[in-house]
Symmetry: C2
Subunit: 410 residues, 2 copies
């Protein structure tokens, strides 16, 4: 028997309890061991919950109970969650989490502790909600040298952009609608300013390329300045605006550039058709070419599904799972986004031609114009090209054919 303790009985935590209860028999069969929910730690009481009898308020009960083998951390943030995770690992318990902030910022530290104590630190649910992505990368794709990760990693922003594209809502109205529907929080900053996507691309990049890449190494731009004019111009070019997290390995020195920014994505790319709150992550490797993982990137039950999958893995092995880790980071891990070339979309004041660029036409005010550069260039080069112009929007175009997708069937 493996006893489980859940820290934080919010949306994901309560989902985890429900999945363990509902599918308990099958889960225990698959693990060849009974998995039982013993404690739920929260500051609140839940007298009406079917799990009320398991709610406690003192972490040290869990810490000191040798029958607890796996601790599920669904508190979030990097303060209390960090302390409890440390203490649980120190006490010889495996920890499973959906906490992207903690993994992105202190993942290496937690893994080192887990290794020392020969227990696991697992976090499949921290990226892409229920979409299987971390484990497939480190097992099924393990024979590959990975070169690129590109993902729609945040459902809230993808919902807002989808509503701007499909229904012509302004950013502000789409955000309000997302809040009304429960897809955006009252304080939506972490989503719309890109931090959430930033944490996820950090985790994906660290796991794929082997060294910790931290949020402060990842230039991050959100979607707050995207207008309906940009949406229209993109449409006229057969593209959609998507917020992407990207990580690109440079072969020459094995460094990685990771960043988050809006991109224009061709309608023919599978990423363009990922709508609403769905997420999708494309992974490119030298043998596999391009694979994509698609599903609900958030939500109570999908995320709980991933957490419980990890609980089962931890319960089955009850030891340090080496493959689920990366090495220490440092400034020599990354290279600058200023060195990454791409084609660009620019919306500028005035209608005078922009050199080496094609003008886009859409039903927009005549005192401005939008352009798509013909060639691939660095941020410095495109800014030089636009010097002297008032730049109102400047976004990269995703080179999605890097893996020849569809190129063979024209």
């Amino acid at each position: 028997m493996v006893n489980v303790a859940i820290l934080g009985f919010g949306t994901v935590g309560s989902g985890v309890a429900e999945v363990i209860e509902k599918n308990g028999r099958h889960i225990s069969e698959k693990v060849s061991n009974r998995i039982a929910l013993k404690y739920i730690l929260d500051v609140r009481d839940f007298p009406d919950s079917p799990f009320a009898d398991r709610v406690i308020h003192d972490f040290s009960i869990i810490e000191n109970d040798p029958t607890v083998g796996v601790v599920v951390e669904t508190i979030g943030g990097a303060t209390i969650a960090r302390e409890f995770t440390r203490r649980a690992l120190m006490a010889g318990k495996s920890v499973v989490t959906s906490n992207k902030e903690l993994v992105a910022t202190h993942g290496y530290e937690m893994m080192q502790l887990a290794k020392e104590k020969n227990v696991s630190y697992l976090f499949e649910a921290s990226v892409g909600g229920g979409i299987p992505i971390l484990k497939p990368i480190r097992t099924c794709l393990a024979a590959n040298e990975l070169t690129q990760i590109t993902g729609i990693l945040n459902g809230t922003t993808n919902y807002i952009l989808t509503r701007m594209i499909r229904a012509g809502l302004s950013f502000e109205d789409a955000l309000k609608e997302a809040q009304a529907n429960g897809y955006a929080e009252r304080n939506p900053a972490a989503d719309i300013e890109g931090q959430d996507a930033c944490r996820k691309i950090c985790i994906l990049a660290s796991l794929s390329f082997g060294r910790q890449i931290s949020p402060d190494q990842v230039p991050t731009e959100g979607i707050t300045s995207i207008t309906l004019a940009d949406v229209d111009y993109a449409r006229s070019a057969g593209m959609k605006i998507k917020l992407l997290g990207r990580a690109i390995r440079r072969e020459s020195d094995d460094r990685v550039c990771a960043y988050v920014a809006p991109h224009l994505v061709s309608d023919e790319s599978p990423l363009a058709n990922v709508e609403g709150v769905f997420n999708a992550i494309s992974v490119v490797g030298d043998a596999i070419g391009d694979v994509m993982f698609y599903g609900q990137g958030a939500g109570k039950m999908p995320t709980a599904s991933a957490v419980v999958g990890d609980v089962m893995d931890a319960a089955k092995h009850m030891c340090y799972l080496k493959s689920n880790c990366w090495e220490q980071g440092g400034p020599d891990v990354v290279y600058s986004v200023e060195e990454v070339s791409s084609r660009w979309y620019a919306r500028v004041a005035g209608t005078e031609p922009v050199a080496q660029a094609r003008r886009l036409t859409a039903q927009q005010p005549e005192e401005e114009s939008a352009w798509l550069t013909e060639a691939s260039m660095t941020p410095g080069e495109v800014k030089a090209l636009l010097s002297g112009r008032e730049v109102r929007a400047l976004y990269r175009v995703l080179d999605w054919k890097h893996v020849r997708r569809l190129s063979d069937i024209k």
Copy 2:
């Protein structure tokens, strides 16, 4: 050190050798053990190959070499491959394969042998080429009760259909083009008649639902009777014709219906946008909702990538991996496709109305007409509806909204 022997030096076998050579250092690091290619068994010699020194012709050398830990079977078919797999397992070697025919028909037998000998029998590459799908199902999604699998499982037929839809080629011309491009074999029967997809849905269904489902339990229809008229009518309804393998679990008695048949799929479904030789597999579970896996479903390097991923798994554990298995099959595992309801597309002689159906309009001869039923019905019911009419085509419509995808963003 773990020595590997490859059986069959064809497309996939030589890809496996190349991946092991090219990424050998990283692969060995990840496994914490050196993986070395020791033998290649083939009837031919390969004097010009860099691997010429490892080619042998006598299987018993491998069988009797105690330093060989993992055997890669890329022979194909269910005769010699079956014998060599049995003998390798009996000799205490883990076996990794891309051989869908053998796994679909004799998977249970091989797993039992592997279990007896405490070695692994792994076959990620048998479904979806390089796309990670079997391992994610049995690990990341393990907390779910799975209910449905729907996949575009065969790249050849998807290429042919894509060319019919995009370029207006007839089935025959699209097939010829696929053969010229190396996407279809000279004898394309196993692809175009659906057997390849049938084997893959057998493997997916067996793994997902826990008991062996064999090809002879899976009604299979290929794409040979699909005409450009069907493609046009589908387009007029905002749909595309796709060959799908499906497996549906019935909750009441836990039985599964698996079948392969052409379906009309809404353009809004992510499956409709899977084009050319790409594959995609959608999995529905009670917690996760719907997830989709997408990538190149065949080809030398993608398939080799999956094989080597399994080799690494086998080398790391060197024991029987319990999760990668299912129980014995039998007639009580399945229920009949005759009990599965759906909406239907029918093309019939004459233009008299069909009850409870909406007529489709397209640029087609006037002596026939095409219809989409409004309601969901069984094959028996739709045939009763069409009784007295000459039915020229009858295909199911995929109910892709079973998981509410996109429904929230209209």
